[in-house]
Amino acid sequence: MASLKVPATVPSPSEDAEQLRKAFEGWGTNEALIISILGHRTADQRRAIRQAYRQAYNEDLLKSLDGEISGDFERVVLLWTLDSAERDAWLANEAVRKWRPGNRVLIEIACARSSKELFAVRQAYHSRFKRSLEEDVAVHTTGDFRKLLVPLVSAFRYEGPEINLTLAKSEAKMLREKISDKAYNHEELIRILTTRSKAQLVATFNHYNDAFGNPVNKDLKSDPKDEFLAALRATIRCICCPERYFEKVIRLAINGLGTDENALTRVIATRAEVDLKVVAEVYQKRNSMPLERAIKGDTSGDYEAMLLALLGQGA
C-alpha cells in the first residue's frame, strides 16, 4: 500500500506551479511550501505540475529546484518529482557510473518492479542517456556481477500466476546442486533466477525449503564477506518479499552510527507510491518503533520533513 497522502481537493496544476514559483522568489526558499505541495501529489499530478510550470515559466521545474535547494533535501525532492521510470533510469545510471559490488540499486530496479515498469525504465534510459541500460550495465560490471546483472535488467518476465510444479521441483533440485557445489555463478543458477516468472520462482523457493529444510537464502550465506552471494540473496528477496527487503535496507541505513541518506532517500522515494505503508508496518514490527520516530531521530530539517511527508504525515 502506498503511504503517500493527497488532500481531498487539490489545486489545479497551474495553481500548484504558481505556488512553487512563489516558493523560489526573492531571497531564500520556502521549503515548507515545496514539501506541502510536491510531498502530497500523485505521479500524474506531479507530471501535470511540471508541464504547467514549463508552460508558464519556460523552464523545467527540476532545474529551478536545483538552483534553490541542496543536499539530501534536494536529492529526495528531485527524485520524488521525477516519473517513476525516469527516476529508476536516473538511479540506474548513477549506480552504473559509481559501480561497486555492494551496490543494490540495479537489483532493486530489475526485481522489485513489474516487467512493464522495468521496460519503461529501459525506454526512459534510452531517452535520457542515449544508450541502452543493458549496454551500460555490461560495460561497467565484470565477471560474475555482469553475468547476473545484464540478464536481470534485460528480463521481461512472464507475469501470470501459472506454476509448473514439476519444473519447480527440478529447478529447486538444480539450485541445491549448484549451491552445494559452491558453483554460485553457474549458468543454470543464473538462468533460473534471471528468466523464470516471479510466481514460478516463489514456487521453486517454497519447494526448496520443503525439500531441503532451509530457505534458499540461508544456504547462500556460507561466506558473509562474499558480495556476489549477497547480491544473489538480495535478488531473491526482492523477487519474493520486497517489503521485507526494503525494511532491511531502511533499518541498515538508519541503525548504528550515522545514516545512509542515499539509501533512505532511495527507498522512500521509490516506494512511497507502491508499498511504503506496508514497509513501515514491517519496520515497526521488526524494530518495535514506528518508522516515523526512527526517521525523526536520525534526520533533521527539510530533509526530515520531506521524508515524513512521503510517509503520509501532514496532508
Binding site: F119, R122, Q123, H126, K130, R131, S132, L133, E134, E135, A138, V139, R146, V150, P151, S154, A155, F156, R157, Y158, E159, G160, E162, E187, R191, T195, R196, S197
Partner: protein
C-alpha cells in the same frame, strides 16, 4: 475418347502437383485436369504409372507413397500458410516462429533473424506476444531449450532493447573493433561464441554503433568480420543481420530458391517475404540483383506455382 496421355501432359500435371521440385501447387492446372479427364480413369492410371517415385506398384495397383502424401500436404498448404501469416499481427508471427524453433527444432538462425532484424519496438512486441501465447517469456524458453554453446548469445540477442539513435562514440567503436579482432584471432572460432566481450558487444550495442565498429574492423584487419567469423553459424548470422538485413535476406532467398533445398530452407521463402514485404523488400531485391545478377521476382516466378506464386509476387511487388 481413349487417347493415351502425351509425355508433355504427364509432365505438366506432375509439375502442377509440385512434382518437379517447385514450391506450391498449380491449382488451376489441377482443376482443369479434373475437367479434361472426366470419365477417363485410364488417363489417371497412366499418370500414376508415369509419376516417378510418387506411386509404387503394390499388389495389382499403384499405391501412393506415404512420404509423398505428406509432401503434398505441405505443398498444398503453402498458399494457406502465407495467407494466414500475412493476416497475422507481426508480433504474433515472430512469437510463433520463435516458439517453433524451440519446440519443433526449426533452425536457430530464425531466432537470430528475429532478434536482430526487427526494430527494438518490434522485438519488444514479439516478447509481449510470446507472453500472451505461451504463458512464458521468450528469454526463459530460449535459455531453457537451447543447450548448445551459443545459448548465452541467443538469450542476450532476444533480451536486447537496443538504443536506436544515431549518437555513436567513435573511440569506443574503434576499441571494440579491436576487442573483437583480438578475440577472433586468439580463440578457436568454436569458443568465440562463449566469449564474454564478444557477447557483450554484439548483444548490447546499438546497431549504428555496431555498423561503425564493423567498418573499423575491416580497416584494422583487412577483412570483414563476417569473413573472419567463417563457419560459426550463429555468430556469422548475428553479424550479417545486424549489419545489413537486406544483404542477409537476399542470401536467404538464394538458399531457399536453389534446387534441392530442404524443408526448413524452403519455408524461409514464405517467412522472409511475409515479414519483409512492408519493411525493406525493395532493398532486398536490390541486394539480390547485385549479389546474384538476377531479378528476385523472376526467380520466384520460375520456382513456384499456383496461388502460392501469385501471393509471393504480389508481396514482392513488380
Amino acid at each position: 475418347m481413349d487417347v493415351p496421355l502425351a509425355a508433355e501432359e504427364c509432365e505438366a500435371i506432375t509439375r502442377a502437383f509440385s512434382g518437379l521440385g517447385g514450391l506450391g501447387v498449380d491449382e488451376e492446372a489441377l482443376v482443369s485436369a479434373l475437367g479434361k479427364w472426366r470419365h477417363q480413369p485410364e488417363k489417371r492410371a497412366q499418370l500414376r504409372k508415369s509419376f516417378a517415385g510418387f506411386f509404387t506398384a503394390d499388389g495389382g495397383f499403384e499405391r501412393f507413397e506415404d512420404d509423398y502424401i505428406h509432401y503434398l500436404k505441405i505443398e498444398f498448404a503453402r498458399f494457406k500458410n502465407i495467407m494466414v501469416l500475412w493476416a497475422m499481427h507481426p508480433w504474433e508471427r515472430d512469437a510463433r516462429w520463435a516458439n517453433d524453433v524451440l519446440h519443433k527444432a526449426h533452425p536457430f538462425d530464425i531466432i537470430v533473424e528475429i532478434a536482430c532484424t526487427r526494430s527494438s519496438e518490434e522485438l519488444l512486441g514479439a516478447r509481449i506476444a510470446y507472453h500472451a501465447l505461451f504463458h512464458r517469456s521468450l528469454e526463459e524458453d530460449v535459455a531453457y531449450h537451447v543447450r548448445e554453446n551459443f545459448s548465452n548469445l541467443l538469450v542476450g540477442l532476444v533480451s536486447a532493447y537496443r538504443y536506436e539513435g544515431d549518437s555513436i562514440n567513435e573511440e569506443m567503436a574503434k576499441s571494440e573493433a579491436k576487442t573483437l579482432g583480438t578475440a577472433i584471432k586468439s580463440a578457436g572460432v568454436r569458443n568465440l561464441v562463449e566469449n564474454g566481450e564478444v557477447i557483450r558487444i554484439l548483444t548490447t550495442r546499438s546497431k549504428p554503433h555496431l555498423r561503425v565498429t564493423f567498418k573499423y574492423y575491416r580497416e584494422m584487419y583487412g577483412k570483414s568480420i563476417e569473413e573472419d567469423l567463417g563457419d560459426e553459424l550463429c555468430l556469422q548470422e548475428t553479424v550479417q543481420c545486424l549489419d545489413s538485413p537486406p544483404k542477409y535476406f537476399s542470401k536467404v532467398m538464394d538458399e531457399t530458391l536453389k534446387d534441392g533445398a530442404d524443408k526448413n530452407t524452403k519455408d524461409a521463402l514464405t517467412r522472409v517475404i511475409v515479414s519483409r514485404a512492408d519493411v525493406d523488400m525493395e532493398e532486398i531485391k536490390a541486394a539480390y540483383h547485385e549479389q546474384y545478377g538476377a531479378q528476385l521476382e523472376d526467380v520466384i516466378a520460375m520456382k513456384t506455382l499456383g496461388n502460392y506464386r501469385d501471393a509471393l509476387l504480389s508481396l514482392v511487388g513488380q
